[in-house]
């Protein structure tokens, strides 16, 4: 089947000849990339291990690192919280209805996991994981999938020895042969004897209301969501509300608007887990309307860690000062908090975020 390449490349070659500018010589634009610059950005890791830095991490360490950085969305056992991606399980489900695609059941290369964790995770704090922590997290994910024992240590040296169950589960796009029947002359008359409607979208009723934006779509049953899950990397889940960062409240008169604006930028680090403003709901973290002045651990419906509840019962009220102390290093200042966030080290960021949060407090 050569319909596609022949036509496409013949067609575009002609196109190029007619319309593209002639570029015979180099223009000498740009400048040489320095080795330090290449090292900073050239982080991708290939299936053969190219790009892996020296390092190692154990399942045991990985359990801790995972718990601190990943479990709020992916679950303590990588089983996925609230339909955030499951990273474990799904063995032998690929040829069944609604297969469960996880690192263990689906991902063909371990390099992909390492690379993705290292460069793109955690959500909202990407590129903060050290090489050793990344090895540890990946080791723990392997353990969660029953692919290694609990005393396993993953390193750049044994990386390629790990066997991925679905390594041979992929074929290269074969549509031009497997779907060759789609090329041809179509029927124009008497193409079917009868036509019956077999399914109505209105029965499912999952279309967002486009007339009145305020009304959220009814939440479909879980299995319908699973069936409908699009491409999106991130899984179907509870209906989300409006984007978190819409500034809804009028800034309080005595707070510098520039500081609030700066705080809105800092808040980008928080948005992955917290919502604020009109319609804000509890997500991975509690909603933050009126957080300034609130007793710690008291948002209704949010499941706090025990230390956070205890702190509130002990009289902790969120003020600019107590918030700054907590945010500087959450896991140090409150051991056992669920909030897996490395912290706002800069005093100016702490002030800005307090001003921004304060603008949503009455």
């Amino acid at each position: 089947m050569s319909k596609y390449p022949n036509l496409l490349f013949a067609g575009t070659a002609l196109f190029a000849f007619l319309a593209n500018p002639v570029m015979a010589d180099k223009l000498g634009l740009g400048r040489p990339a320095l080795p330090e610059e290449i090292a900073a950005w050239n982080l991708d890791v290939s299936p053969d291990g190219t790009g892996l830095p020296v390092g190692s991490g154990s399942v045991e360490d990985g359990e801790m690192v995972f718990s601190d950085n990943c479990a709020s969305c992916h679950g303590e056992f990588a089983e996925g919280v609230d339909n955030w991606p499951k990273l474990a399980g799904g063995k032998d489900t690929l040829d069944r209805k609604d297969p469960v695609k996880t690192v263990g059941s689906y991902w063909p290369y371990l390099s992909t996991t390492w690379d993705y964790v290292h460069r793109s995770m955690p959500f909202g704090a990407a590129q903060t994981m050290s090489a050793d922590d990344t090895y540890a997290i990946v080791a723990y994910i392997l353990y969660s999938n029953d692919l290694v024992e609990d005393d396993f240590v993953l390193s750049n040296e044994n990386f390629l020895e790990v066997e991925m169950p679905n390594a041979d589960g992929f074929i290269v796009d074969d549509r031009e042969t497997a779907e060759a029947a789609f090329w041809g002359e179509p029927c124009m008359e008497n193409c079917k004897e009868s036509v019956e409607i077999t399914m109505h979208a209105s029965v499912l009723d999952v279309t967002p209301d486009t007339v009145d934006d305020a009304a959220p779509a009814e939440q479909p049953a879980a299995e319908e969501v699973a069936a409908a899950e699009p491409a999106s990397s991130e899984p179907a889940a509870e209906p989300a509300t409006e984007p978190a960062a819409e500034p809804a409240a009028e800034p309080a008169a005595d707070i510098d608007p520039a500081l609030i604006a700066a705080g809105e930028k800092v808040f980008k680090k928080c948005k992955a887990c917290h919502q604020i403003g009109e319609g804000a709901e509890n997500k991975v973290g509690p909603e933050l309307n009126s957080v300034i002045g609130r007793t710690a651990g008291t948002v209704e419906g949010f499941k706090y860690s025990d230390p956070m509840i205890a702190a509130g019962e002990g009289g902790l009220v969120w003020t600019d000062a107590t918030l700054a102390e907590f945010l500087a290093n959450p896991r140090k200042s409150m051991k056992g908090t669920k909030m897996s966030f490395s912290g706002l080290k800069k005093e100016e960021d702490q002030k800005a975020i307090a001003a921004y949060l304060g603008s949503f407090s009455n």
Partner: protein, 422 residues
């Protein structure tokens, strides 16, 4: 129709449309039969007073009466609106060019703020000289203008399980079509000098998702663009300002936004987005990978669930869009009876390679139910299949690449619904 309008006629029309087509038809007829139309016989405010000055709107937005023509998302699809997707209001647009402001967005870590001054593009890997370009550098290379569609591989993905979403925007709105101005990727690769062992390029974005895809060098040297303008103006933030990749005919995930790095490599990276996602699992559990090309596809955009027939029987324009990742659209057929008989539609302009083509069927409606379908053919002779044909080859577990023929059930009232037919 929740807003209250100062314009009473518009409110009336909108209310009538919501209430049903009959009312609109009756009102029109009544006016024609004798009562003079006050819109003509009375001097209207806009015909006597003054409008806005030229300093009122330095950058114009659509008039308020078009406020419902906006991107919409489907909240239950994703866990979070930051890593999510929304949909182009294709039911309300005409022609082929998608305005940037309502063109669908898909990001993995949110749409980032990246200034031109802070922009750097690196080419590294198997090249004679690794290079860093600034935005200004890119503007000094000879550039070209091309129109291409960008379709998410998941467009229509929710429909695999059956008719689910009531509206062309939601079933087919993960697509846009813009005129890009940019530098051929080939030019930049030649500036760095590709070594003979280089067979792939890995392209990567600057946002926190670090979204990256591997593209065969043959494609990279063929028609891929490093684009910085769309529809004549700077890329909008949500479309990758200041620089994005344009990969004609191939799935939207490869059109890296906030493009920061191009690495020439011997083999593919096999990144998350080309292994765990954007792969297609068949009935036997084996999965296709590298399914980059978007198959030929078409959709009737009007009438459709969000764009009902508001006028009663008589002249009717049926219109829609067709496209193919393999080349130009050659023909579009339309069926009013669910695929029993087909008639060939009029293409507004000859199909252009890997760009949206607008089609019209200028017809007369008898006021009876229709099962409306469109079927695209491209220049390779590929004919858009039915969902049944796709399922027979691919099984029931597909997520991406649903290019099946869509059916709208147009009722006698002129309203339309998304249905599946035998």
């Amino acid at each position: 129709m929740s807003e209250t309008s100062k314009n009473s006629r518009r409110s009336f029309l909108k209310g009538a449309a919501a209430a049903g087509v009959g009312a609109v038809a009756a009102a029109t007829t009544a006016r024609a039969q004798g009562t003079p139309d006050p819109l003509i016989t009375e001097v209207q405010p806009w015909a006597t007073g003054l409008g806005d000055g030229v300093d009122a709107t330095p950058y114009g937005l659509p008039i308020e009466y078009e406020a419902d023509v906006v991107r919409r998302n489907v909240p239950w699809l994703t866990a979070d609106p930051i890593s999510s997707i929304n949909f182009t209001p294709i039911h309300a647009l005409d022609g082929t060019i998608t305005p940037q402001g309502c063109a669908f967005e898909r990001h993995h870590s949110g749409a980032i703020d990246l200034r031109k001054e802070d922009y750097r593009l690196m080419i590294n890997g198997l090249v004679d000289q690794p290079l860093v370009f600034t935005y200004e550098d890119l503007e000094r290379f000879a550039r070209i203008n091309r129109v291409f569609f960008c379709e998410c591989a998941a467009n229509t993905g929710m429909e695999w399980a059956g008719a689910q979403l009531n509206g062309a925007q939601f079933t087919h709105g993960m697509i846009h079509n813009m005129e890009y101005s940019g530098v051929p990727l080939r030019t930049l690769l030649e500036e760095a000098g590709v070594k003979p062992e280089g067979k792939w390029v890995y392209v990567e974005g600057a946002d926190a998702s670090s979204n990256g895809r591997s593209i065969p060098l043959e494609k990279a040297l063929d028609d891929v663009l490093v684009a910085f303008k769309a529809n004549g103006e700077a890329l909008r933030k949500e479309h990758g300002y200041p620089v994005r990749l344009v990969v004609p005919g191939w799935e939207g995930n490869m059109w890296i936004k906030w493009l920061r790095r191009i690495e020439v490599m011997e083999g593919p990276v096999e990144s998350r987005e080309e292994t765990s996602k954007y792969t297609d699992t068949l009935a036997n559990g084996t999965s296709r990978k590298w399914t980059w090309v978007m198959d030929a596809k078409s959709i009737v955009t009007s009438p459709s669930p969000q764009a009902p027939i508001k006028h009663g029987p008589g002249p009717l324009v049926i219109t829609g869009l067709a496209w193919s990742g393999r080349g130009a659209i050659k023909r579009v057929d339309v069926s009013k009876d669910g695929g029993k008989t087909w008639e060939t539609a009029r293409l507004a302009n000859p199909g252009q390679p890997m760009a949206l083509t607008r089609f019209y069927l200028d017809t007369s409606w008898d006021g009876k139910e229709m099962l409306l379908q469109a079927r695209a053919m491209d220049e390779t002779g590929y004919v858009q299949p039915t969902k049944k044909m796709l399922r027979e080859v691919r099984g029931e577990n597909s997520v991406y690449h649903n290019n099946c023929i869509q059916t709208w059930w147009v009722k006698e009232t002129g309203e339309a619904e998304n249905v599946e037919v035998s």
